[in-house]
């Protein structure tokens, strides 16, 4: 079925944040640090404050009690011996700035133009401090300190083990050891962030429109910080042009803009521009892994050891989610008897790192898949064979990996059937005949290569979501849930889940998401959990409404509930479809204006329900691609791309495919285009879309997808999440394919650093860098 929201989106009728502008709105621009690490020597705002059209100029001092470090949003899981040093940012910097783009002054003016003119008049005198730019040296004893009070740059240290790796290694026939680096990027949503706040002083109500993935936690935080009852704060997440993770945070702007509106008694608006987004919105990536894989002579995994460094940037407000995802996802769909994994998280003077689509999972997958590739090469196995020999079998579920996942629950895979995914992907990409295809291309002077890799994705974690389903007297069905929506197709899938239970066409169901005045229980859209968790809550609410419909219809039509079917918005008697009653009529009858109702009954056809999974559910899949490398320019073109994916029961195949396509595009960016480049002082040099290369439509190939369905036993729908799947394994598959394409022209080439680029591939092939050709 087609997406019901697309008509509104494609005709420009869907409201996005910048479409909203209450009468009398003031506009905000921030003065941000242009240095990665500096002491604020002096700050003079007088010229800006005097500028015509400026309403207020605000510094940390003006914030009073509000100027305290922000919350740690996700507490670290209770892992034995884990160290976690929380350091979060002030809403506006005071004394020290710790990354480029950290906000120092907020300027409120009649327009954004005037606010930026005034920003240029702020005299901010910064004294540069030594900066931590190089992750690999961030924990050196002589490194400059990001947080002086901490005494080192160690944000966290976590070790998780399973089995006895040392013993496994001692029995190994082959041990593969490598260093891998996976560098930083931004999420680059089409729509940047934005906040609009409108304080109504007469009845003490605050309305905030916010590009957030988590409107309910934002409302709760604002109420607590601003001293308002939660019921007097309404947070609305309108249509959002992409979330990808960074919009799950609670940013300083989300506090300052409402506070300004309350202080000035006017609506106040801030729309992040693209340049700000490169620094002020959280980012991802930046890990260095020292990894080892122990194999027996048949290529079976005996154990893995992985020690890695993770760059959290200047602060760590999202706890350990990203590095724990890396740690846990590395195990993949494989049987790994022994695992020794240790990571340290370092503070650096770079923008803050929090989950971005994939959220560290791609790093773990890259390490494991690359180790398997090098192991296969050593043993003379092909990439499919070494993977097939190590897959968990369908009879091995639930499979306990004996370590803790990001949601604090044990890393236990609920279900899966991995071999068919691998076989289907190999078949579709043409693995069996590829040696011949490669040789035929070589005869024409072309270098083509194939990559094929596995991944798993832990999805659909708790704690819970809720939903309410209402049949209105006019027959309209309205569905509300607390999660925000950023383009995932929630309006369609949620309507499908409800429609299936009450016999209503999903196109006729009105879905509302992300408005706390409509529903205020829940946590938000993250961790590929919308369909799994909110979907299951909707399913439960729809089942309750179904019961109510059947009861009322049974009374109205004088038949047993078992003899009724719900279809086309009516209750009909099975076998006698002319005996029927509309759901709207039933809703009216369920809400009588006079007369007695049975004690203990509830009015109307409405129910709310909640769903909290015991733990996350694990999806899996395989990516396979064929690339062509231009031997002369070192450019890489993707010729074919296949994704075989198993996210349990598929609610809407087109939406699942769309999620995969978008994810693969993001993964291609990670693998070959996107890299935020910092100099030795941690300053970013390519913060624009001219120099920060996002893959465009001409760089992303047509993607062939296939769905396998191994339902999850952990939720009534049997679904698993799919939001991040497309992005996770791309770099690993890409690296394997490039090496394969150059197996004759650059034998022994190993790609261990991501992102790759033509220039880097050239350098890999010409290590002296002076040679013209290898």
């Amino acid at each position: 079925m087609l997406r019901v929201e697309d008509a509104r989106l494609l005709t420009g009728r869907a409201p996005f944040i910048d479409d909203i502008e209450p009468a009398g709105t003031l506009h905000v621009a921030f003065v941000r640090s242009d240095m990665p690490h500096a002491k604020i020597r002096s700050l003079d705002i007088s010229r800006a404050a005097d500028h015509a059209g400026v309403s207020a100029v605000v510094t940390a001092e003006d914030l009073g009690d509000l100027c305290r470090p922000g919350p740690v949003l996700v507490p670290p899981p209770p892992i034995d011996g884990a160290i976690f040093n929380a350091r979060t940012a002030l809403p506006l910097a005071r004394e020290v700035v710790r990354h480029q783009g950290e906000a120092v002054v907020a300027i409120v003016a009649e327009s954004r133009y005037v606010a930026e003119d005034a920003a240029a008049l702020v005299d901010l005198d910064l004294e540069p401090l030594d900066a931590v730019a190089d992750l690999d040296r961030a924990l050196d004893a002589d490194a400059p300190l990001v947080h002086e009070d901490l005494g080192s740059n160690l944000a966290a240290h976590v070790r998780q083990t399973k089995g006895d790796y040392a013993a496994a290694r001692a029995h190994a026939d082959v041990v593969i050891g490598r260093t891998f680096r996976y560098d930083r990027g931004v999420s680059a949503a089409i729509e940047n962030r934005g906040v609009i706040a409108d304080w109504d002083g007469r009845d003490g109500r605050l309305t905030v429109w916010d590009t957030t993935q988590a409107p309910i936690p934002v409302r709760n935080a604002l109420a607590a910080l601003l001293g308002l009852p939660e019921s007097c704060v309404r947070v609305v997440a309108p249509f959002i042009g992409g979330g990808f993770g960074p919009k799950i945070m609670f940013y300083a702007e989300e506090l300052i803009i409402p506070w300004l509106s309350m202080r000035l008694g006017r609506p106040v608006k801030w729309i992040e521009d693209r340049y700000e987004n490169f620094f002020a919105t959280t980012q991802e990536r930046g890990q260095t892994h020292e990894s080892e894989l122990a194999l027996d002579a048949e290529g079976r995994i005996l154990g893995v050891r992985d020690v890695f460094l993770h760059d959290t940037g200047a602060y760590d407000p999202y706890g350990l989610t990203v590095p724990i995802n890396s740690q846990c996802t590395l195990l993949g769909p494989y049987r790994v008897p022994a695992y020794e994994s240790e990571f340290r998280v370092a503070f650096t003077n770079k923008p803050v790192v929090t989950p971005v689509r994939g959220a560290g999972r791609q790093h773990g997958v890259f390490v494991m898949e690359r180790l398997l590739d090098f192991g296969a090469r050593e043993l003379g196995l092909d990439p499919v064979e070494i993977r097939a020999r190590n897959l968990l079998g369908p009879d091995e579920f639930p499979h306990d990996h004996e370590i803790l996942y990001q949601d604090s629950a044990p890393l236990t895979y609920d279900s899966g059937n991995y071999r068919p995914s691998l076989e289907e992907a190999a078949r579709r990409i043409g693995f069996a005949g590829f040696d011949g295809e490669r040789a035929a291309a070589a005869a024409e002077g072309r270098c083509i290569g194939l990559g094929i890799v596995n991944y798993v994705e832990g999805t659909g974690i708790g704690p819970y979501e809720g939903a309410r389903v209402t049949v209105e007297p006019g027959g309209t069905v309205s569905v509300v849930t607390g999660v925000g929506t950023q383009g995932q197709g929630h309006f369609t899938t949620f309507a499908q889940v409800v429609g299936a239970q009450i016999g209503v066409d999903p196109g006729k169901i009105r879905v509302v998401t992300g408005d706390t005045s409509e529903f205020h229980w829940g946590t938000g859209t993250f961790a590929s959990r919308g369909a799994v968790v909110a979907g299951s809550a909707l399913h439960a609410a729809a089942l309750s409404v179904r019961e109510k419909i059947l009861q009322h219809a049974s009374r109205a039509l004088e038949v047993d509930p078992e003899d009724l079917v719900l279809e086309d918005g009516e209750a009909r008697v099975r076998g006698a479809p002319d005996v029927r009653i509309g759901l709207g009529e039933l809703a009216s009858r369920a809400n009588p204006l006079r007369g007695a109702v049975q004690p203990g009954t509830e009015p109307g056809l409405e129910a709310a329900a909640y769903f909290g999974p015991a733990r996350g559910t694990t999806a899996n899949g395989v990516h396979a691609l064929v690339v062509e490398v231009d031997d002369e320019t070192s450019d890489v073109t993707i010729l074919r791309y296949v994704v075989v994916h198993d996210c349990g029961t598929v609610i809407n195949p087109m939406i699942v495919e769309g999620q995969i396509h978008g994810g693969v595009a993001l993964g291609i960016g990670n693998a070959f285009y996107e890299e935020l480049l910092f100099d030795e002082f941690a300053g970013a040099g390519n913060a624009s879309f001219m120099d920060y290369l996002l893959p465009t439509a001409t760089d992303v190939p047509a993607i062939e997808t296939a769905h396998l369905e191994t339902p999850s036993p952990l939720n009534p729908l049997g679904t698993k999440g799919v939001g991040e799947a497309g992005a996770i394994p791309v770099a690993a598959a890409f690296a394997q394919a490039v090496e394969d394409a150059l197996r004759e022209n650059a034998p022994g080439l190993e790609i261990v650093d991501i992102p790759l680029s033509p220039g880097k591939l050239f350098a890999l092939r010409n290590p002296a860098d002076g040679g013209e050709d290898s």
Binding site: Y673, T698, S757, D769
Partner: protein, 309 residues
Amino acid sequence: MKPPPFDYVAPTDLDEALAALADAGEDARVLAGGQSLIPMLNFRLAAPVKLIDLNRVSELSGIERRPDGGLVLGAMTRHRQLERDATIAEYAPLLAEAAPWIAHAPIRTRGTIGGSIAHADPAAELPALLLLLGASVRVARAARDGEAPGRVERTLPLDDFCFGPFFTALEADEVITRIDIPPCGPLEGTAFEEFARRRGDYAIAGAASRMILDEDGTCLHAAVSLINAGPAPALVAGVEEPLVGRPPTEDRLAEAADVASAGCDPAPDMHGSEAYRRHLVRVLVLRTLARAARRAAAGRTPGIETEDG
């Protein structure tokens, strides 16, 4: 990313525009397509007091063929016109071949040939291409104090016009009015190729080659112009030596490509090392010289085709 305040005028007449420019002096900027100036304004890298918009000055547009076969291009000729115009395709096929590689289609509908030359970005295609074609630039200004009233014009060959990165011979009160391109002969071949990460990006390196053969296939003229391989567009010295006076064999073309690679001056940047850029120059010069030679030999210079025999 909002521009600082500025005054704005949009004259319809060239003399009016020249007068406005003379009047505002160094604090004014001329707005042609806005391909580069508008982003610079939004980043506040430029803060002119006044913008003089040339988009309504009709005298600056138009593509004409002179009786001698040369072309006259109005300074406000859009990149998109170079890409699609039949006269360009026939008489300056190099421009038609390269134009689709200038930025993206929406930008090409705005960006102008005059703006590109005046901006003098070493990564831009048009200055290098026009240099290879032997083009000259016509500029005009209003008479200064002490001069007889009226319009003062001068013509400069392109290699006297672009000096260095973003640095030209254009004076603060001057505007480019047109570009003159000399005629090309029947046994002349040109070819263009650039390498960029994504379609529409500035090239990491680019090359344009031109070759003239005699009836026997002997090379009479060979020249190469590079994009983003030095501070300003310049013809590569010495590429003609292995070629002129002899047939352009594969070995000699390779020798010329080696000369270009050794003689260029690329700076390392985020896309690659100096070695990588020199390597790309060699690859692109070899490809374009070979194609130019084939086209010259065929006695034609097909513009739109890029893959031909």
